[in-house]
Amino acid sequence: MTCVLLIDDDAKLTALLGDYLAAEGFSVSIENDGPQGAAEALSGGYAIAVLDVMMPRLNGLDVLRTIRALSTLPVLMLTARGDDVDRITGLELGADDYVPKPCTPRELVARIRAILRRMQPVTESGLESDQGDAVLVSSGLTMWPHQRRAEWLGESLRLTSTEFSLLEVLLRHAGRPVSKQDLSARALGRPHTRHDRSIDVHLSSIRRKLGLLADGRSIIQAVHRQGYQLLKD
């Protein structure tokens, strides 16, 4: 059973959402306090954490920072609708995705499922499925999708699940631009919407982790009006 950790100071809301998630077949733990939530998230045993970034005590973003310092546990943020600052900061800090609050529980479950599905390797029309040792290599980047492991120039990369999925999609299409719509559908598991800067924010943090090539360029290039492209050697 998939374990979901709900961190939100609104106890009534978490109780309702807990019931809903339980009915959807998840096993749910609830924390109504930031520091305890962070500690619980780091205890292991959870597939995903749902975190409210608007908590008054120990700001949700601080909780996220605490979790990210030690773990790549997938984190879904609940943000205030229209508050871009929180959302972008959250994504930069390594949150996997966000849902504006208030949201319908259906939407929440859909996002949780999308992130969890991403934890499974991306399959291109079933071609590379079932090959546990499949390796993707290009331009000094090596990825083992089944083990969710990646290396850059021989060094292990620490990526969040969303970052891993995005990089995997780009690597599979190395040398060709991939549109934001495709990236969103394949890596985030949801259609791309206007105003949504998630892809850009995630890619900029991947770029930060990869550093620059010898010639000063980044291996991930933005292609005007077309999306992003991984440079092929």
Binding site: D10, L16, G82, K101, C103, T104, R106, R194
Partner: protein, 467 residues
């Protein structure tokens, strides 16, 4: 320097100049009178000179006397006729003439006063010397009596010279300086106050004027203190209002989130297609959007603008907006046509502009349901460096007196029936466009329907768009 400064400066300087001239002439007159402070000369030389003068007047006539007097400037012999007029028109104290007359009456043989009849007049001649008490401390000067007069006295009675230029210049500069100082002293706190008023009017309520005015203790400083107190109260009240709005919105959203979760559970338990539940969900979304709009509007009004400034290609922005609106319009079997003209770019906040234009198009879709077609026309007016977006519908239009009110929050028409009112969309559009230096207004089309016009200022040298 403001106009007030120059006015104060001009007035103060003028007053000073008037003062200087008045005091200067007062001194000049006094000095002149002091010069005239002559008294009868009784000395031994006086008789000789009066006698010589009498002879000259008698035999050489008035002209001779005049030329002698002017020539022999060192000799001071006056000739006064019956009416008290001096022959050379030199000013004389009446007392002096009086005492000369008296002396002549008492002793008509006195050598120092003589009477000469000539030219039909009788002239009384006498010598006079400056009163030594009025001009003391001249060691070279003659003792009391008729010595040769000092050189300064030679032009006795004639027009006195103006003060030397250096003194005039110094006085002028000093008066200029004090005028500048005084004007500055009064005008400066007023300038500070004006600066503060401007700032507060522009939304910067944290501005205080007392640090600019300093430690003055007068009515202007009191005014500054009053201003600061007012600004403080305004700031507190505005901040309170903003916080209230923010808190209310936030507080409304929490139960809304719970409600949404509860409805979700309800939906799971009962019929998933239950229309009542669907209705509840719709209304929750509507309330949520409204709360979001309220927050958005209060942010814009507070000057917190969303997003960063960037170069915006207007054609690209409109392509996005039109595509979206077309998608929305298609659900009711309508469409949006756009002339796709006017490539231009400007520096602004893309999200704010997009929402603004979107709201106008949405409004057209919502309030002109009969209108099969919504038309968008864009154009660049190079002469005025303005970008114009016109959104036209062929709906019922809006009563003329309500055209301006459409852009106020929650405006509800008295005439339209059954519509929701304009909500906040157009108000947000107006504020967002104004934040970009643009404007928005509505008018009725002669052929029926409404046209909403958006005008945005373009940079002076418009960058042609790539699109």
């Amino acid at each position: 320097m403001g106009r007030l400064f120059w006015k104060f400066f001009a007035f103060i300087w003028l007053a000073q100049l008037v003062g200087i001239v008045a005091i200067g002439s007062a001194f000049w007159f006094t000095a002149r009178r002091a010069d005239q402070n002559l008294e009868m000369a009784y000395g031994p030389g006086a008789g000789t000179r009066v006698e010589a003068a009498s002879d000259i007047l008698k035999y050489a006539g008035v002209e001779g006397f005049k030329s002698w007097s002017q020539h022999e400037r060192r000799e001071i012999v006056f000739a006064v006729d019956e009416s008290g007029r001096e022959l050379l028109e030199r000013a004389l104290a009446p007392g002096l003439i009086q005492s000369a007359r008296q002396l002549h009456q008492e002793d008509s043989w006195s050598p120092i006063v003589s009477e000469v009849g000539t030219n039909g007049h009788r002239y009384l001649l006498f010598a006079a010397a400056p009163d030594m008490a009025a001009a003391p401390g001249d060691p070279q000067g003659p003792p009391r009596g008729l010595g040769p007069p000092r050189p300064e006295d030679t032009r006795l009675g004639g027009p006195r010279a103006l003060p030397p230029p250096s003194i005039t210049l110094t006085t002028l500069i000093a008066s200029l300086l004090t005028a500048v100082l005084l004007a500055w002293y009064v005008a400066k706190p007023i300038r500070s106050l004006r600066f503060a008023f401007d700032g507060v009017a522009g939304g910067n309520l944290s501005l205080r004027v007392m640090p600019l005015i300093g430690k003055r203790q007068d009515e202007l400083a009191d005014l500054g203190r009053d201003f600061d107190r007012m600004a403080e109260r305004l700031q507190a009240s505005m901040e309170g209002q903003r916080r209230l709005l923010h808190d209310v919105s936030h507080e409304v959203r929490s139960p809304l989130a719970r409600l949404q979760a509860a409805v979700g559970l309800l939906r799971r338990k009962y019929d998933r297609e239950e229309p009542t539940i669907e209705r509840i969900e719709e209304e929750i979304v509507r309330i949520d959007r409204l709360v979001g709009d309220l927050l958005n509007l209060s942010r814009i009004e507070a000057g917190e603008l969303a997003g960063a400034e960037e170069e915006i290609q207007l054609l690209e922005l409109l392509t996005d907006v039109v595509a979206d609106a077309n998608f929305e319009a298609a659900s009711s079997g309508r469409s949006i046509t756009w002339n796709e003209r006017g490539a231009a770019s400007l520096i602004g906040r893309a999200d704010m502009l997009r929402v603004a234009i979107e709201n106008v198009v949405r409004n057209a879709l919502k309030h002109a349901p009969e209108s099969r077609d919504i038309t968008i026309r864009t154009s660049v007016d190079a002469a005025r460096s303005t970008y114009t977006i016109r959104v036209l519908d062929s709906g019922p239009g809006v009563p003329d007196e309500e055209l301006a009110q459409m852009f106020t929050p929650f405006f509800r028409s008295n005439h339209a029936e059954g519509t929701d009112g304009y909500g906040l969309g157009l108000a947000i559009a107006k504020r967002s466009l104004e934040a970009h230096g643009g404007r928005i207004f509505a008018s009725n089309r002669p052929e029926g329907g409404l046209v909403v016009t958006i005008e945005l200022p373009l940079p002076r040298t418009p960058v042609p768009s790539a699109g």
